[in-house]
Amino acid sequence: MRVSKSRTRPFSVSPQLEPGAPSDFELMKAIQAEDPDALSQLYDRYNGILKALILRVIHNEAEADDLLQEIFMEIWNQAKNFSSQKGKPLGWMVTLARRRAIDGLRKKQAYARAEERLQNETEQQPDAWVHNSTEEEIVLSDTRSLIRKVISGLPPAQQQAIDLAFFRGMSQREIAAKTNTPLGTVKTRLELGLKKIYDGLKELRGEL
């Protein structure tokens, strides 16, 4: 088993870019200088990933499109607050998108509706972490398939706890109530699962 020795390099598993394409950092710098074409390129590069994340939270196509537009507008407006010292552009954008998506879900008090949709979609949703029966049918990019491999290596209960915390914004207590599990067990599942993913991704970083 390979173990990464790096402790200072930002932990990241970004997708590969075409040769000669501007890096995400270069695009962010151009956006900070108010270059709309840079935002256009960043949009083309990551709208699919960010929309998938938003959809995973709110489960509504039209709302996800609206939110995606708002998030890229926020990226444009907040670009000056991005600092390369704090991490990579994709990480910053994902953090921003997740926060907005979870806020949106809470503001609209859509938990009940999303809950219904989630239950309806569970059987047919290809991107569910737990009980994903259609995985083989999907052609995955190298990066994504490797990340999925790490995540799918977790016991389903750990996957579920992380899924509810990350994509639904649930607290440990909310997860405990939803899954009818003792709070201490939820905490242990989250801690063990996140550590395994973190360690697995550190190993992956060397393979990508």
Binding site: A64, R98, W129, R148, L190, K195
Partner: protein, 78 residues
């Protein structure tokens, strides 16, 4: 809290899963470990990126991008 426990808590922190009663203790340890703590939290945010990349990209309508770029250009010219 030792650094190993802080690392565990950091991973919960970045996904917003720290409970209120854990938060104060975490912030105390964060101050105690200083730069080492900040570096580790920064690394943990890589989990966000990984979780997003684990999903199959979704298609969005071209109208969204057209609207976005029109808004951006209008704001720039204003």
């Amino acid at each position: 809290m030792n650094f190993k426990e802080f690392q565990n808590q950091s991973r919960l922190y970045v996904i917003g899963a720290l409970e209120a009663e854990e938060f104060a203790e975490f912030e105390k340890a964060r101050k105690k470990f200083g730069k080492k703590a900040e570096d580790y939290i920064g690394e943990c945010y890589g989990l966000h990126e990984a979780f997003a990349l684990s999903l199959r990209p979704a298609k969005s309508s071209t109208a969204i991008k057209d609207r976005l770029m029109a808004m951006v250009r209008a704001r720039k010219e204003a």
